[in-house]
Symmetry: none
Subunit: 204 residues, 4 copies
DNA sequence: TATGAATGAGATTTCATTCAT
DNA sequence: TATGAATGAAATCTCATTCAT
C-alpha cells in the first residue's frame, strides 16, 4: 500500500474518532457519564452504535480518549522557552491561556472531573496528562523566583495548587450558574484579581 | 399517642436513617455512587434492601440526605457571635474547623462531589447547604475589614472562593495520593501556608 | 432461625432451581443452547429473566446444572452390591436402566451433547459425572469375567465404549427420526440385540 | 465465452471456496461454530469478510458446504465393485479407510456434529451424505452374509450403527483426551478389536 | 415495620451481513 | 471481484424498586 493511501486512511480514522468523541462529549455534558447511553452518543455523533466500538473498545475508553485530546492542547513552546520575566505578566498569560482551554473544552471537563472521583486510572491520567504539565511550569517558575529572592519562602507545590484551585472554583461558580453574583464578574477581571491575590501573597 | 412515645419513635426513625446513611456512605466511598448497589448498601448497613426504601424514596435520596447531614455540622454559634479580631486567627480557626469536617466526612465528599457535576438539584443543595453558609461568614468578614481599611479593595466573593478552592485542591491532592510530595506536608502546615498566602494577598 | 425454617427455604430454592432448569431444558431442546434466549427460558419457566440470575450466575451454568441433575440419577445401590451373575442379565438390566434415563431426560441430553464438542469444562463434567460412573461398573464387570476365564482377552475400556457407543448411535437414530426403518424397531428389541451382539463378541 | 475460459473461472471459484472453507474449518475447530466470528474466518482464510459472502450466502452455509466436501471423499469404486470375501478383511479395510477420513477431517467433524443436534437440515445432510452411503455398503454386505448363512439372523441396520457407534465413541475418547488410558491404545489395535468384537457377535 | 425474592426495563456490547468504493 | 467500514438487531446480564409475607 502506498504511503499516501496509508496517510489517507489514518486521517479518516482520526476524523471518525474525533467525530465520535465530540458526540460523546455533548451527551456526557448533558447527562453525565453514567446516564449517557451509547445509543444517544451514536445519534449525536451521527454514526451507528456499532461504529463506536470500531474505534473505541468500550464506553469508558471515550473518557480516556478525551483526556488525551485535551492533553495535546499544550502550551506553546515559545512560552516554555522564554517565559516573561515579570511574574504578573507570566501568570496572567498562563492562566488566560488555560482559561481559554476550559472555555473551549468546558463541556468535556465536567463529566471528566466527575468520574475522576471514582475511577483511579482516569484520575491518574488526568493528573499526569493535564494537571502535572502545567503545574510543573508554575512550580519551577516560583522556585526560581524564590531562589532569586523575589518571592517569600513558600512551598511552590502548595501555592501552585492554590492558584489552580482558586481559578477552578471561581470558574466553576461562573459556569454552574449557582451564584448569580458571578454574572457581573467578567472573566478578565476574575482572572486578574486571582493572579494578583496569589502574587501579593508570595511577593516579598 | 403520647408525646414521649412519638419522640421515641422519631428517634428510632432517625437512628435507622443514620444507620442506612452510614452504610451508603461507605459503599459510595468505595465504589462511587453509580457502581454502588443497593444490595451492598443494605449489607453494609445491616438491613435488608427493602428497608432502605422505608426510609428513603430512592437511591439518589441517600445523596441528598448526606448533604443535609453534613450541613447540620455547622460552625458553633459562638464563632458567629464573636469572631476573633485578628484576621489570621479568624481564618485559621475557620479553616481548621472545616478541615476537621472534611477529615471526618471525607469519604462522603468524594461521591457527593462527583455527582454534583451532573445533578442540578444536588449541586444546588450542596451549594446552599454546605458552601454558602461558610462562604457567607468569610465574605462578610472580608467586607467588614475592607470597610475598616485593613484589607485592599478586593472582591470578597472571588477571594472567598479562592480560599476555599485553594484548600479544596490541596486537600484533594493530599487525599488522592496522586502526588507523593504531599506525604511530607502536614495538614497544619498546609492550612497555615494557604491562609497566609491568601491573607498576604488581601492585606494592605 | 429455626431448622425447619431453613429447611423450608432450602426446599424453595431447590424447587425454583428445578423449575428454571426445566424451562431451560425445553428451550435448549427446541432451539439448541445458543439460539435459546434467556427471555424465552424465563417465559417457559414461568419466571422473569432476572429471576434466572438469582439462581444461576449465567446461561452456561444452566447446562452445568443439568449435568449435575442427571448425575444424581444414579444406579440403585443394590445393583452395585449384587450384580447379577449372568452376564446377559447384568447387561440388560444396566442398559435398560440407562435407556430409561435417556427416555426421561432425552430432551436434556441433546443440547448437552452438542455443547460438549466445544466446551472443555462441560465435556469434563459430562464425562466424570455421567459417563465414568456407569462405564466403570461395566469395565470392572468385564475385567472380572476375563479373569474368571469366561470372557476373551478383550480390552474392557474399548468394549465398554463400544457398548455405550452402539446404544448411543442406535438410540440417536431412533430419536432423530432420520431413518424411518427405526420406526418398526422396538426399544426392547434394539436393546437386546445390541447386548447380545457385544456379549457374543466377548464370550469365549 | 469459450469453454476453457469458463472452466478456468470455475476452477478459480472452486479454489476460493475451498480456501474459505479451510479457514472456517480451523476456526470452527478452535472455537466451535457459534463462537467463531466471520472476521476471524476471513483472517484465517486470507480474504476479507465481504468475500466470504461472495461465495457463501451465510455463515451456516459454510457448515453445509463442509458436509458436501467430506461427502465427496467416497470409497473407491473398486471397493464397491469387488468387496473382499473375507468379512474381517472387508470390515477392516472399510473401517480403516473411514478412520483415515476422520483423521484428515477430524477438526471439521466436531463442530459439525455439535450443530447436528440442533439443526434439522444439517442433520439430514450429514445423514444422507456421510452416514448413509457407508452404512448402506455395510448393511448390504451383512444382509448378503446372513442370506448365505454365514451370519446370524441379526438386524443389519442395528448392527451397522453398532459398528459405527463403537468406532465413533472410541475415536471420540481418543481425540477428546478425557481418559488418559486411551493414550496407550494405538488406532490400529483399537480398530481391530472393535471389528473383531462386532464380527464375533454376528458370526454363527 | 422488616424482609428479600421477584421483577423487567434498560444498558452495553457483539457480530453477521451489507454495500459503497 | 475484493474490500472492510458501517450497520443495527439482538442477546446477556444488572440492579433499583416493589410487594407479598
Amino acid at each position: 500500500m502506498l504511503d499516501n493511501s496509508t496517510d489517507f486512511k489514518e486521517q479518516m480514522v482520526e476524523a471518525r474518532r474525533t467525530q465520535i468523541l465530540m458526540g460523546a462529549a455533548q451527551v456526557f455534558a448533558d447527562k453525565g457519564f453514567h446516564k449517557a447511553t451509547t445509543k444517544e452518543i451514536a445519534r449525536k455523533a451521527g454514526v451507528s452504535e456499532g461504529t463506536i466500538y470500531n474505534y473505541f473498545s468500550n464506553k469508558r475508553e471515550l473518557l480516556l480518549a478525551m483526556v488525551q485530546m485535551i492533553a495535546t492542547q499544550t502550551l506553546r513552546g515559545s512560552f516554555f522557552n522564554n517565559p516573561p520575566d515579570d511574574p504578573k505578566e507570566f501568570l496572567l498569560l498562563l492562566v488566560r491561556d488555560r482559561y481559554r482551554l476550559v472555555d473551549q473544552y468546558g463541556h468535556i471537563f465536567a463529566p471528566l472531573l466527575a468520574e475522576v472521583f471514582s475511577d483511579d486510572e482516569l484520575r491518574e491520567a488526568v493528573y499526569q496528562s493535564i494537571v502535572m504539565p502545567i503545574a510543573q511550569v508554575v512550580e519551577q517558575y516560583i522556585q526560581k523566583y524564590i531562589e532569586l529572592g523575589k518571592f517569600r519562602q513558600v512551598n511552590p507545590v502548595i501555592v501552585t495548587r492554590a492558584l489552580i484551585g482558586s481559578m477552578a472554583l471561581n470558574t466553576a461558580m461562573k459556569l454552574a450558574l449557582v451564584d448569580n453574583r458571578y454574572e457581573t464578574i467578567s472573566s478578565d477581571d476574575m482572572t486578574e484579581q486571582i493572579v494578583e491575590l496569589i502574587l501579593d501573597g508570595v511577593l516579598k
